[in-house]
Symmetry: C2
Subunit: 493 residues, 2 copies
């Protein structure tokens, strides 16, 4: 199975594409730029969704659902918003097909033209704020803390599975608040929720930061983000949380009666993560043998592969396997017993390596005799023989899964540290960017012009101004103008 | 709150519309025919989803995700399918907007016209079977048991919240099998899963049946269905499961190598339920005071309302309430303590009546003294005083919730029995349909012509040929021609 997976060192991009397809995560669909998320890939996404949804509810949010369509005129109500999204909108113009005159095909019915064109939502601020106008009258209606899980469409020209697709799945939170401070706090809180999810569940360390004006969401006053580093040294924006100020409240005239009897515009936030996280998960940990999944997001944490000749041996191993499964499940561990007789153990080993199952148990007749199992770790590819008389297996496996989760995270963190370089001159900037890549920590003069020039010359962009950066007087690495602290540059997905 | 809800007996339709809005379930959106599902409504839908998803997984299905868009030419590949859906398709023709020449608005960019128009999926058979062609080569790849949760669009002209909307949420299962029998068994199994869900969770009794040819899904060989009866005597189709024969396999050339070395077309099924179930749930049980929710789908099964004057009384009641909540939660019961000081107890009582919370606990200072609570049932509007010294409260409430679940179901079942009438003449048919409504069990000659005539004359359609109907020689109630058994007619949503 894993034979022939391209090597990361030779062609990282091809390795990624092939891995996504061969591990049954996703594939391209007949519709340009749209993907099919295959059952195995979707089962990972479902685990992500379940955990994120739990975290959203624990922070007081409720789910709702808003329409797929946005009237064209709504998009235009917030000036920078339409500027940001108009160029990649799928537009619905008709609502009926009919048979062609020769009866050989179906064609658009010209009599079924919409009075106003509808846009497939690229994001839902406009339709949601037009609804909030009716939901919010008084301070008693605030805060309004709503999330939706939905599909959105942005007509990207160059697409890649999970990382950039015309249609993608995501969640978008949209909240409304009585005060500016409350809205800012919400935006920061959701960045922290995303960071906690990325680090504790995906085992992907992230930098928490604020976007520069150039990279800000179209319609936001400030965009908070989490930025991750992939194994090829490129950065990936893994989630964003926007403080919208009163922009959408003003665009859709959403005011509320204050406690004091006044009438004020509402303050807003929006925040989202998408199936792009699947791309980050895959690229952050996987190796030339296939996926490496953190145990907390693996659909199966353990797989048991029997090694046998004939039905009698299989029957004995099955009995033992069932015993083990009962024990593991009592600790909440997910386990699959692969007793298919259509495939050999070696094939199964490669298959589960490709699919990133964290722990593999193999059991043959000799193991039964000795009361042992062979336990193989996917992340380190190491094996050990475990004597079942000497350990409490469910505790042993439980601890091992935790160890793997931590180990994957620590490895990614070390890599990021190693790949984050402070530079103090333009020559050094270019040299490090080309020879090593990764995050480059450098002084910047704070202007969009400098940022644009650097991007034009090197393809590197400002990933973020880290939340926790230290004050430091310095000079912009490009313009030499004064700067108060470092920002992170990188080439990015 | 519940004041002014129209009475069912006076205007059932208005009662429904108002209830959906006032109970915060859903509302119309700015986009014609599309709804906003509000947080409270969505929390009920989430409970439905979670249970259905569990039942799908228990029967071996996996989730996946397929594109929103369908190339126009795909829709045409199955002849009766395109016939069925072409008249209500939303069509995407362009992928970009631009500023108008005067800069005052955004308009379609004529340079961004799609080569082939895309249809927003009204259902996904075509795009899924075109994908299955690549997934299925041999009998080893079968059965393929996939489900997706998605939004679909059918451009309905007359829409009603939940019951008929241009965009709706649903799940669609799409399975592929090696034999005809296996596919038929799958279709029947999923009808049974839907029936079990409707009866055991929604507390809505349903008739399991097969659709007549006129009412069959466009592209199916047979459509199995579950049919429910609403309080106004109209039927509602609550779920369908289609045996597709080899129709889509032939349309998309999906063949498999058999065990015996042959090459054959694959057999298929598809099956779905939608947010329409919300409409069925609301209409089956609710009354003039508001929603009545079966405990198994109620977001909150119990609400505690404190009756107090001043902070000191509230503090004491809160302490007791927390104790009760801990006990109830230990039995898996969901409970909410409404200690808002912005609303009076009477307002809260009406609010939770409107929202259908199955059990309400009220507690005042005298209850604390006597160690009692007042327990009110939403479905019967009956109250009792429960002495906490005399019962184990968590068991008492647990049993009470089960009793309510059963009682709601039994009531709906009695109603349906009462509203199902056997008729043996055309005069009787018309008379019962007008005076009483409900299901009419009558002989039918099996022809589409008779069915059409009856529909034209009375608006009644054949809801289904019940799965468990008895053989009975008779004469068609309309044409007098011979018939082998009765079918169910009704006016329907």
């Amino acid at each position: 199975m894993s034979k022939g997976l391209p090597k990361r060192s030779e062609d990282y991009s091809l390795w990624y594409n092939e891995l996504v397809k061969r591990a049954d995560l996703a594939e391209n669909s007949p519709v340009r730029g749209c993907m099919v998320i295959k059952p195995y890939g979707f089962s990972i996404w479902e685990k992500m969704q379940a955990q994120l949804d739990k975290m959203f509810k624990e922070t007081g949010h409720q789910n709702a659902y808003f329409p797929l369509f946005i009237p064209k005129s709504y998009l235009s109500k917030e000036a920078s918003h339409v500027e940001g999204f108009a160029k990649e909108c799928a537009v619905v113009t008709h609502y009926r097909l009919k048979n062609s005159e020769d009866g050989k095909e179906v064609v658009i019915d010209p009599d079924a033209k919409l009075e106003e064109e509808l846009i497939i939502r690229p994001t839902s601020e406009t339709v949601i704020w037009s609804t909030y106008k009716n939901w919010i009258q008084s301070y008693r209606d605030l805060p309004l803390l709503v999330n939706q899980w939905a599909n959105v469409v942005r007509w990207e020209m160059r697409t890649r599975l999970f990382l950039r697709t015309a249609e993608f799945l995501w969640q978008e939170g949209h909240t409304a608040h009585a005060t500016k401070q409350e809205a800012v706090d919400e935006a920061v809180q959701m960045m922290e929720v995303y960071a906690a999810f990325a680090e504790q569940y995906m085992a992907v360390p992230v930098v928490r930061g604020i976007k520069s004006e150039n990279e800000r969401f179209a319609g936001a006053e400030d965009t908070y983000c989490i930025e991750a580093l992939m194994q090829d040294g490129k950065a990936l924006q893994a989630g964003t949380s926007h403080f919208l100020g009163q922009n959408f409240a003003k665009a859709f005239d959403v005011k509320f009666a204050t406690k004091e009897g006044g009438l004020e515009y509402v303050w807003g936030t929006s925040w989202g993560v998408s199936t792009r996280l699947m791309g980050a998960l895959i690229m952050a940990h996987s190796d030339d043998n296939g996926l490496v999944l953190p145990p907390k997001l693996a659909p199966n944490q353990v797989v048991i592969v029997p090694i046998y000749r004939g039905d009698e041996e299989l029957a004995k191993i099955s009995e033992k396997a069932k015993e083990i499964m009962t024990k593991l499940r009592s600790k909440g561990i997910t386990v699959h017993f692969d007793n298919r007789d259509t495939h050999k153990p070696g094939w199964k080993f490669a298959e589960y390596e490709l699919k990133g199952v964290p722990l593999r148990i193999a059991m043959g007749p000799r193991d039964l005799e000795n009361n042992t199992i062979e336990l193989a770790r996917r992340d380190t590819l190491s094996k050990e023989t475990v004597n079942l008389s000497e350990v409490n297996l469910e505790d042993y496996i439980f601890d091992k899964l935790e160890e793997i989760q931590n180990s994957i995270y620590t490895k990614a963190l070390s890599f990021r540290k190693e790949m984050t370089t402070e530079v103090n001159s333009w020559e050094e900037f270019k040299e490090i960017l080309e020879s090593k890549g990764g995050f480059i920590s450098a002084h910047w003069d704070g202007t969009g012009e400098t940022e644009d020039k650097i991007k034009e010359l090197t393809k590197a962009t400002i990933r973020c101004i880290p939340i926790d950066r230290e004050d430091e007087d310095g000079q912009c690495v490009f313009s030499g103008k004064p700067s108060k602290g470092r920002v992170l540059f990188a080439k990015a997905y």
